[in-house]
Amino acid sequence: ELKVEQNPLFLSMQEGKNYTIYCNYSTTSDRLYWYRQDPGKSLESLFVLLSNGAVKQEGRLMASLDTKARLSTLHITAAVHDLSATYFCAVTRGSNYKLTFGKGTLLTVNP
């Protein structure tokens, strides 16, 4: 059974600081995804990481993938209040593209 663990589950940051969210998964995965969810809203796709060593960046967020360690990181640089949201990682195996999600990391950026 494919399991995905995120940590921390809760993260309170000050604006301007850097931090990293970690996503570990239990077995070989085909793809790794990062999503953002604002309170009361749906999920928005941030990144899709396809291979070992993949790195993607969008604004203050950078995601990386280490398939050997079964680990992905989401690094936040110089956090701003607008980044406050819940961040989910998810992995998939096989041809049906079923995603297994982590429990999410609730990020709060304080002024």
Partner: protein
């Protein structure tokens, strides 16, 4: 461009009543379709997925069912709702074309009283 619709946006239903939630996708053909549930303060649970018309796979045994009567229409139903069915129901779609991701609809918030 592709869009995904869900309705209703919000629903309050008594225990024991039936349920029908609808999801439609525009701008793509033969998508994979998914129903997820997100209970308050919890992660996402995959309920059903479909790779084609009439093809439904159930991930979690429960009092819910799903149907796909048309290529871009996915329906979630129940004959009798339970209190534990309350949650945020999300429909998603994907296509068999890498790179691949799932795109989520706006969701239906269901409260069973």
């Amino acid at each position: 461009s592709q869009t995904i619709h869900q309705w209703p946006a919000t629903l309050v239903q008594p225990v024991g009543s039936p349920l029908s939630l609808e999801c439609t996708v525009e701008g793509t053909s033969n998508p994979n379709l998914y129903w997820y549930r997100q209970a308050a303060g919890r992660g996402l649970q995959l309920l059903f997925y479909s790779v084609g018309i009439g093809q439904i796979s159930s991930e979690v045994p429960q009092n819910l069912s799903a149907s796909r009567p048309q290529d871009r229409q996915f329906i979630l139903s129940s004959k009798k709702l339970l209190l534990s069915d309350s949650g945020f129901y999300l429909c998603a779609w994907s296509v068999d074309r890498p790179p691949e991701t799932q795109y989520f609809g706006p969701g239906t918030r269901l409260l069973v009283l």
